[in-house]
Each structure stands twice: as structure tokens, then as C-alpha cells.
Symmetry: C2
């Protein structure tokens, strides 16, 4: 279900294609984040028009609200939100560790209280699989423990080992459920999802900032044979070099014929650097989150449209950009909307930013096919100025966001 169509000669960059029940995903791919069953401020129609091939749903958020049984009643997440292209769901683990209160991790699973109404709940590897099956996602993720940064080596080692044992349990749970012999019961939540058997399951490599732990974790996860492999526990506050190092340590252990997914990152240059290191898939809240703060992406870095300098600016957010915003509206108008707190302002920047990320991946695919990716990467990274605010936002520390509105 995954094919490498072209391989860069100067780097590890690959151009591939992933096949899912709901359609194709061309890689390198950017996955817009639809935390609560909606990619913030956009409609499914707009996402289709932006040529988004896949979106992400956050299991934890949907579990808390509206509740899995509600989405199941509507026939799964695709039908609930009226999106008929591929959906990847995370396991919920990351948000349990970053958002929920009073969590207690044991070998069996995690006890926690959700951040909305404090209701206690328990999630295990098996339950994480059941929930994602009920959501009907095309790509499910195993339940993992995402170690914090910084993290003691001892803790990171034990955590990565437990993550591997949990991964094995996830795989067994899915295999048991996919077995034709299993009893379909009306009280079994996974029975309703029509795509259970064809769903892809990705393992997650952990190991914090320790190269040998990253390698051993990757080896343990690959031994379990998943449909794809994610690098987790990156972009959690560590310096960029540590992030690159974590990927470089794990990547050689990952099979070439399976997709690789770096979770929860990053800035546009980081994406290209990750592609050059052999990564195929990314999800990140930066384009949607920064948009709500008035920040737009351009090839030379981000600009904040709240700034007075844009008040009389008749040019589009980015010259020659073909996104719906740049085709129709000037910076000065978008600035006015943001200053006046008009919803259309957030909408317009969100569309531009998502287009920017999706188009960057489109461009990367073309450059890999042409054999010119590495030069493109170098030139893009050199021309792009990273501002501190973007990096802070990428790990959930954007000052302008209310503390109770997070979202990976």
C-alpha cells in the first residue's frame, strides 16, 4: 500500500504514494490537523479545494467531546464531519500526557481526568485501537508514551520499552478484531466501522534525545511489522539539533518500503530538513494556530499582519501565491479584519497558511522527481527567516493563545 516512486540522490528524500481505503496520499505529505473534527476555521470543501489529501483527527479531543459513541452513531468520523478523503487519527496518548489532569501510567494503560469536565477515564493499548476503529480512521496510531523534554536516560529507556510492549498489544488487538472468526456484537464499538479490516496501523519510535535508545526503540517497533513508522517525542521543546538527531538515529532502522511520519512538526525549513532525512509525512498545528494570531507564512519567513506597516499594503500576502486569499484580498484588508477581530481574517490567513504548507510538499515532490530536491532545500532554508515566536508556538507556548485551548 506504499510505493516509493522516486529517490533523491543527494539526500534520503523520497517521493512516494500511500494507498488507503479513502484514497491516495502523495508523499512527502502535510496533514492538516482537525483536532476536534474540524481543521480550525476551515470547511471540508475548502480543504478539498486546497487539495489536502488527508487530515488528522485527535482521538483524545474527540473522546472527551462529543464522545466516541456520538461519532460512531453518525457512522464514523468521515461521515460525522463530511470528509471522504483519508483520515489519520493519533492514539490520544500525547494529549493525555500534555493536557489531561491526574494521570497515572501503569503497564496496563493510563488513568486520567479529561481537561474539559474532569471526568475520569482509562485508556489502554487495546482501548486506543477500539476507539480509532470506531472513529473509522484510515491510519491509526499505536498508544505510546511520549517522554517529556528534558528526560532522564533511565526514564526514557524504560518508557521506550513499555511503548514497544504497548505497540505489540495494539497490533494483537487489531489482528484479533480483523480476524474473520471474531464475533460481531452490537456492544462492540469497533463492529460498526466498515474499514476496520483495511485500516493501516503505524508504530511509534520513542527514546527521547538518546541516540542508542532511538535505535533500539526503532528496532523493537520495526520487529513488530507495522504499515508505517512514526517518530514520536520530537518537537516537544528540545533544540532543533536534538530533533534532527533523533530522526537521524532512528531512520536507518526503518524499512525503505514503508512510510515514515514525524509527528507534530514543524516550521517549513524543518519539514524540508526532515524530508532530506527520509521522512514522508508531517502533521502540525503551526499553519492554523499562527493564522489565528495574525501570522502568515511566506517563502522568506512569517509576517504578522497585525503590524501597522501592512495597513496600506495593496499586495497579496505573498506575491504570485495562487491560494484563495492571495487571489482575492490585499494585506491591508486582511490586516483590518484581524485588528477588528473579524472571523473572516482568521479564515483568510488559515487558508493561505495551509496552502503554503501543502504547496511546499507539492514542490518537494516535484523537486525529488526532477532530482533537484537538495538544491531546492538548501535555497529555501537559506531564504527563510525563522522567528522565535514560530518555534515557541510549535511546542504550544504561543503567548497569544488562551491556556485552555491547546491542540497538537
Amino acid at each position: 500500500m506504499f510505493k516509493v516512486l522516486a529517490q533523491d540522490r543527494q539526500s534520503k528524500a523520497r517521493r512516494g504514494r500511500l494507498t488507503t481505503v479513502h484514497g491516495l496520499v502523495d508523499t512527502p505529505a502535510f496533514i492538516p490537523v482537525g483536532t476536534q473534527g474540524s481543521v480550525k476555521a476551515t470547511s471540508p470543501r475548502e480543504l478539498r479545494e486546497l487539495d489536502a489529501q488527508i487530515i488528522l483527527g485527535n482521538t483524545y479531543h474527540l473522546f472527551v467531546r462529543p464522545g466516541i459513541e456520538v461519532i460512531q452513531y453518525f457512522g464514523g468520523l468521515h461521515k460525522f464531519m463530511n470528509w471522504n478523503r483519508p483520515i489519520l487519527t493519533d492514539s490520544g496518548g500525547y494529549q493525555i500526557f500534555s493536557l489531561a489532569k491526574l494521570r497515572k501510567i501503569t503497564e496496563k494503560g493510563v488513568h486520567f481526568q479529561n481537561h474539559v469536565d474532569g471526568k475520569p477515564a482509562f485508556i489502554s493499548p487495546e482501548i486506543a485501537m477500539e476507539i480509532q476503529s470506531a472513529l473509522g480512521s484510515d491510519i491509526a496510531m499505536v498508544l505510546d508514551e511520549c517522554a517529556p523534554y528534558p528526560c532522564e536516560r533511565d526514564y526514557a529507556g524504560r518508557s521506550a520499552e513499555m511503548t514497544a510492549r504497548w505497540a505489540a498489544r495494539c497490533k494483537r488487538a487489531v489482528e484479533a478484531n480483523a480476524s474473520p472468526a471474531r464475533t460481531v456484537s452490537p456492544t462492540n464499538p469497533s463492529a460498526a466501522a466498515d474499514t476496520t479490516a483495511n485500516r493501516l496501523l503505524f508504530g511509534i519510535v520513542q527514546g527521547a534525545t538518546f541516540e542508542d535508545l532511538r535505535r533500539s526503540s526503532a528496532q523493537a517497533i520495526v520487529d513488530l511489522d507495522f504499515d508505517g513508522y512514526a517518530i514520536g517525542g520530537v518537537s516537544v521543546g528540545e533544540p532543533e539539533e536534538e530533533m534532527m538527531c533523533a530522526v537521524e538515529s532512528a531512520e536507518p532502522c526503518l524499512p525503505k518500503h514503508k512510510p515514515r511520519y514525524a509527528m507534530g512538526l514543524g516550521t517549513p525549513p524543518q519539514l524540508l530538513e526532515m524530508i532530506a532525512r527520509g521522512i514522508d509525512m508531517f502533521d502540525c498545528v503551526l499553519p492554523t494556530r499562527l493564522a489565528r494570531n495574525g501570522t502568515a507564512f511566506t517563502a522568506s519567513g512569517t509576517i504578522n499582519l497585525k503590524n501597522a506597516e501592512f495597513a496600506l499594503d495593496k499586495s497579496p500576502i505573498e506575491e504570485n501565491c495562487v491560494c484563495p486569499t492571495c487571489r482575492e484580498f490585499a494585506r491591508g484588508y486582511v490586516r483590518h479584519l484581524i485588528k477588528a477581530e473579524e472571523i473572516l481574517g482568521l479564515r483568510l490567513i488559515t487558508l493561505h497558511n495551509l496552502h503554503f504548507y501543502l504547496d511546499l510538499m507539492n514542490r518537494a515532490r516535484t523537486e525529488i522527481e526532477r532530482g533537484t530536491f537538495d538544491q531546492f532545500r538548501r535555497e529555501f532554508v537559506m531564504g527563510y527567516k525563522v522567528r522565535d515566536v514560530d518555534l515557541a508556538a510549535s511546542v504550544g507556548k504561543a503567548v497569544s493563545l488562551p491556556p485552555n485551548k491547546p491542540g497538537r
Copy 2:
């Protein structure tokens, strides 16, 4: 520029067509309110797809932010917000009286401090015309004083007389500017707008709740010969019977071949009752404002989608509705979005509500043409349940709105 195409036999309802520089407006017409250069939560493209033929811009809000000189720099409000159909602008008077601080009314004009940064400003009938000319609206409104409710007869009388004198000054100012002999100066803000000469100017009838004052005000305004006539000072907190009475008192004085516009109202039944009393045009924040509170319009009254009863509701907001929301999404999903404070939730209800209002006018036009309007009105009003919350919101008292985010 206005033609009555059909006249109802059982009521005073008319089906007409108004021609402006930016296109036609079929009447009875509903005018979505674009307070700050954006009809809240919608894009110009969505408004076109909803078949909105005209929108309203609030002069006061645009004067305060971004400032008229900014919009003028962009070539007028049409170009600024990328809307190429007709725009009606109010004079700013109503918001000066309802929002601004420390206002002082004299015969010359109004001194006030704006509600955003408290900056002092002065507006006169002549300045109101200059500003609307700079905005480049297709229909401008005279500066009037909107008397409060309740209001002493003595005050109401003197206020209506001053409104008539101000109306005369507005007319003279426009005529002086439209004269081919006038000197076009770069410091004259109206010089930039290309539509000044062709802009329509509507007079406004005041007179509070006093029938004879409504009649004398109407007569005084009609004597000045405007392109259309508005009934102002309605929907300001008075009982519905008083509102109907104000219109019934003024209407016989208004010429049949000019459009009539009831400002700032109302509920769907009120609109039909006003049409039956000879009114052609309406603007109202109800469909957009209530949407942001989770309230949707249906033929049987409003429903609040926050309510738990809709959590598992697979039906659209209204059966057989052809709006973009009802064609694609279930009540249960919209409810989830509203509860989770997702922007898409507000967007979807806003689109439905605007469609409801626009479609109601479309239906009214057809029924007038068929000669069945009065029966349609009676049946609609009988089947529609008005909730107190809608009436409160119609005069700006919706509890759920922050006090600093008003908007007529």
C-alpha cells in the same frame, strides 16, 4: 431606477427592482449587515453563492477602524472588501447615538468620542455625505437623529424637525459635489470615488412612536425628493405594535414609485408584516448575530443547536433546506462544533440563517407575483414561534454577546 413590477391586491406588498451602479436589487430585499467591512463569519464568495444582491456597511465602524482614508486609499469599500455588488451604507448616526461616548448634538452636527480608542470626532450632515462618498457606496443614507425609546413627545418633535433640516443639508451637499462644475481636489475625499454622481441617496423618516410626528416627518422628507425613503427609529426597544404603527403612519405619505426601507429589523414574521405594509428593504443583524450564539432559523421558529436534544440528530438544521450547511451537515455535527467553540460551527449556522432570510424574501417576491402573498404571510406568521431571546437580540440586548462587540 426603481420599478414596481407587481402589486399585491390584499395588502400593500410590492415586488420591485432597484437599479444601482453595481447591479440590480430585487425587492422585497434583505440586506446582510457587514458592519466592519465583512458580513460576520462569511466571505464575499459565500455571499455571492447565497445570492445576496446587496450588503450594508456601517459608516461609523469603518470611520473608527480602519479609517475612511484607508478604505479610500484602496479605492473604496467595494475594492477593499472585494465585493462587486451593491453596497448600502448608513450615515453613522445610529451608532454614534448607541455606541459612542460623550456625544453632544447641536444643529451643526454631533461631537463624540469613538468606543474603540475614545478619540474625539465630529460628524455633520455634509461630512456624513463626504464619508459615504469616499466609501463609494451605491446607496447612501442621510444623517439623522435616532430618538430613543421611550421618548418625550416634545423631544421627538424637535428631533424629527432637525433630522429634516439635516436631510436638506445632505441633499444640498451631494448636489454640490455631483455638479460637473465642482473643482476636483486631491484633498477632497469624495473625488476618488467613481460612483459619486450615480449614488442613490435615501432620506430617513423619524418621529418616534407619535403618529402625527411620523406623518409630518415623512411629509417633510418626501418634500426634499430622495431616491428612496427609510423608516428609522424603529426596533429600538418599543413593543411590536408601536413598530407597526410607526410604519403604518408614515407609509401613506411615501411616493409609490420609490423604494421604502425599514432600518434594523427584524424577525422573519416582522419582515413579512412590514412587506404587507408596503416596505421593500430590510437590514438586520439577527441572522448573523444569533448564529454566533448557536441559534438557527427555521420555518417554525428558532432552535438553539447547543441544546442536548440535537447531539444525536442526523437531520439537517431544516428539512428540505438547500443552503450549503443543510446540504452537507447534520444538526449533531453542527452542535458539536458550537459546543467545542469551533469557528466552523458559527460559519455553518451563519450561512444557514442568511440563506433563510434571503430565501424568505425570494419567496415573498414569488408570492406577490402570484397574487398569493397575503395567504403566505398569514400561514408563515401562524406557524412561526417567536422566542423572547430573538426579540432581545434584535435590539442589541443578547446576553451572550460581549458588551464591546455591538453592531446594528
